[in-house]
Symmetry: C2
Subunit: 231 residues, 2 copies
């Protein structure tokens, strides 16, 4: 399920500059000491809705999804987090329990700090807290904006948008392996699985993309962008 990696490798960690730029080397060493890395396999649940929050999470490798299930048992995907994103953005400082679940959609490595350590640090070091707030704000802003973007489009535009999201933002390549199922795409864009599949088939027939199972190749990006923008 998960496995501890005892050796701390913070010296080479990009997060050091992003997250800890206002933490002294001594403090950093302390944090490094208590930091834990956990490895998750694709499909593993990392945190669950309703669980108490006692850890602070950020992404080192892989890709995870944040999701929430409706009281009818359907799943809604809120967002995806890639390396050097905070996974802990919603709820962490405003709630005692998670209001969403986090699940690995690729094999992932997540760095974990006890939340009380982060909170203590935050109460002592204002610059650290400012950094933290800036980062968390930026991440939640992205979620809100992305949500608005998806909301104003219809089916084809939304599917095109998601493909471009993975291509441009997550993988930075025109060919990639979809980390999620058609159903999960549907849960992200708020449409049905069948319509997502149908739309992908249509894009394939129109030679905008090539599909080999989970592998997607964007063949005509400008047309895909056009669909994403104007439907």
């Amino acid at each position: 399920m998960n496995q501890r990696v005892p050796k701390c490798s913070c010296e080479n960690c990009q997060l050091k500059t992003l997250f800890f730029s206002h933490v002294s080397p001594d403090e950093l060493f302390d944090i490094c000491d208590i930091k834990e890395e956990r490895t998750y396999r694709k499909g593993d649940r990392i945190t669950s809705e309703g669980e108490p929050i006692h850890e602070f999470l950020y992404m080192k490798e892989g890709l995870v999804k944040l999701s929430k299930s409706t009281n009818e048992g359907k799943e809604q995907i809120i967002s995806f987090s890639k390396p050097f994103d905070f996974v802990s953005l919603l709820s962490v400082f405003s709630s005692k329990t998670y209001i969403y679940s986090v699940t690995a959609v690729e094999d992932s490595v997540v760095c974990i700090l006890d939340l009380s350590v982060v909170k203590n640090k935050a109460q002592q070091n204002a610059m650290f807290t400012m950094d933290l707030m800036t980062r968390i704000s930026s991440a939640t802003d992205k979620i809100v904006i992305e949500n608005l973007e998806i909301r104003r489009k219809q089916l084809k535009g939304r599917v095109a948008h998601v493909l471009l999201y993975f291509s441009n933002y997550i993988y930075e390549k025109d060919e990639f392996e979809l980390p999620v199922s058609r159903r999960e795409i549907a849960e992200y864009i708020g449409m049905t699985t069948e319509n997502v599949i149908r739309t992908l088939s249509e894009f394939r027939k129109d030679k905008i993309i090539k599909i080999f199972g989970k592998d997607i190749l964007i063949a005509d990006k400008s047309r895909l962008e056009n669909i994403s923008e104007f439907g």
Copy 2:
């Protein structure tokens, strides 16, 4: 358009306890000195998309909407802010310019601090920054959750949801004056104006609500809740 109220009335301000619980009386006096209150009339624009952010805003009286316009010129309403909510939640600590506009939907009083003052305070006082972060996180969480709620419902459920939102959350009464037009409701729930109007008429015909122009009376709340929940 707007008018200065020179006298500082922080002594009686609810925000003092919420916002400034970790600020010393001396500091509070300083802040009080430079704080400005501005009065806006219904319809007045408070901040505009693309403008540089140099002020920190919070609500004292009234109701405002946060909105963003698409590149096709359509408006999307992100959320509403009521008294003692921060208006400055998205962007403030993550962007130099506003990515949304703020407009008064009721006559409103907004308290305004220079952003540099808030940032300076935040860099010096970690507890203050923690408070701030907690409040901002809580506000953005609400936006995300509210968005998911609306997204999973269809037309009737969304309209019912909005009515309950105003009734329960904003006015805490079963009878209230709608602060927004049908079009604005449509912009908030992502449906067309005509369909919002039609749905309201349907609720009226079914004796779930009474409508007198902008005045709404919720006559059968449990049925409205049922529609909001199950469509």
